[in-house]
């Protein structure tokens, strides 16, 4: 099992509420800005996209790459973060 970052743990520990998209694991300032430009300004909007893609890993990764140019690691971190959040709270 790969280790999770502190950001991941923080995000997964509680309901996301109105957290910014940069609170997602794998999404930093640069990626966050790009996502915001596309209209994904809050973490829950990205969650919405994740759910609409039926939590499919490959589709979500592709979407993330196309939308903000995330690399493989960042895609994986973000996917894992959202997936675990859904497991706990959804």
């Amino acid at each position: 099992m790969s280790s999770t970052s502190q950001k991941h743990k923080d995000f997964v520990a509680e309901p996301m509420g109105e957290k910014s998209v940069m609170a997602l694991a794998g999404i930093g300032e640069v990626l966050g800005k790009r996502l915001e430009e596309k209209g994904f300004d809050k973490a829950y909007v990205v969650l919405g996209q994740f759910l609409v893609l039926k939590k499919d890993e490959e589709l979500f990764r592709d979407w993330l790459k196309d939308t903000c140019g995330a690399n493989v690691k960042q895609q994986g971190d973000c996917y894992g973060c959202l997936k675990e959040w859904c497991d706990s709270f959804l």
Partner: protein, 401 residues
Amino acid sequence: MPLFEEDPAHLSKSRLKSDLVAHSVALPPAQSKKDVYVELHLKHIDQKNAADFSSDEEDQVRDVADKEEDAEDAEIPDPSGLTDDDLKAALLEHGFKAGPIVASTRAVYEKKLRKLLQPDGQDHLNGAEKGVVYSDSEEEDEEEEEGSQGAKEETVERSDQTQQESSQNGDFFYPQCFLPSSRLVPSGSQSVMSNGCSFSSQAFSITQMVEEMESRRSLSVSTDTERELNGSNVQEHWSRSNRLDMPIVDKHSMKNQSLYYTPKASPYKWGMKLSQEPVKDTFKDMFPDTQATPTGIHATRRKPIKGAAGRPIQYVYPDTPASPTTQERRAVERRLVPIQIQILVFLIVVVLLYLIYACVEDNSFSPFVALLESLNQGSDGEEGLLLPAETQDTPALSGQE
């Protein structure tokens, strides 16, 4: 595109075959591409149907037929030109069940369809080449795609077929079969087996292995644990029977199947032991005390997050934490009001004592009565007070002397 008319390209090859047979049309050779079937279907059957429809629909059918004949290389033309429903249907045809196609997901699904279209042509070539070896390979093509993507409750025989098909396709077997553990969550133990089956890229029969294991274990193990062992031992077998790159794939499969608990040592062990006797349940050896569960999954209850999703709060913190000093201060404060009352009472007692002292000193009540009378008088009250006070003092003093 009208929905009631079935576009021949959307039908499976076997369906096209049966339609052609039903309309008593001569079938093309067995290894033909689907496009050949589509053409024949359009030529013979659609023209028959067109006679019943109005001229407008007939024109549409002809246009569609022309389009289909033009685009022989790709089964469906440019994905961006399709409507949402068509895109979904095209993805379904390639064996991928798509979610809602919304504005934000459209681009993703178009890309997906393009990816599916590219290796698809090569898949058909492979299918044609190996058609000689397998008698009904063409039908298995469609079945295999459906099987790999959808069926979670596949039996062992079914997964056997997918196994053969995956061996045909090799690298082009789309990684959607690398279903993440999220898909494994609702499925249970059999999906573990079937998904594990789809990982390996070499041809071997799972039924044979299962039979082997069952014959060995039939005496000692109950049916419930058998399934668990099958799941674990099947993977042991794979690593042993497949030499070169299987252990690596198995390691991946181990990692992907996060629900399935296996000790870390075991993948490395399996890679080493290629010639050893097959049946050795390392898991059970290492953990002899654990009870055998029907699914082989041992999971500890996740510690519920406080207040999350309506889960009960196990440990209730006090609302306002108070240190001992604050508690003392509160106790003291509780007495503050009584302290004021005590002071009042004290003053009243002092005044009374003073009056009593004044009475006792005089040994007679007359000045006290005069004092009282002077007190009762309203206007002369103050002056009256002073005078009797002075007169009182001087006799008191004189009395003492």
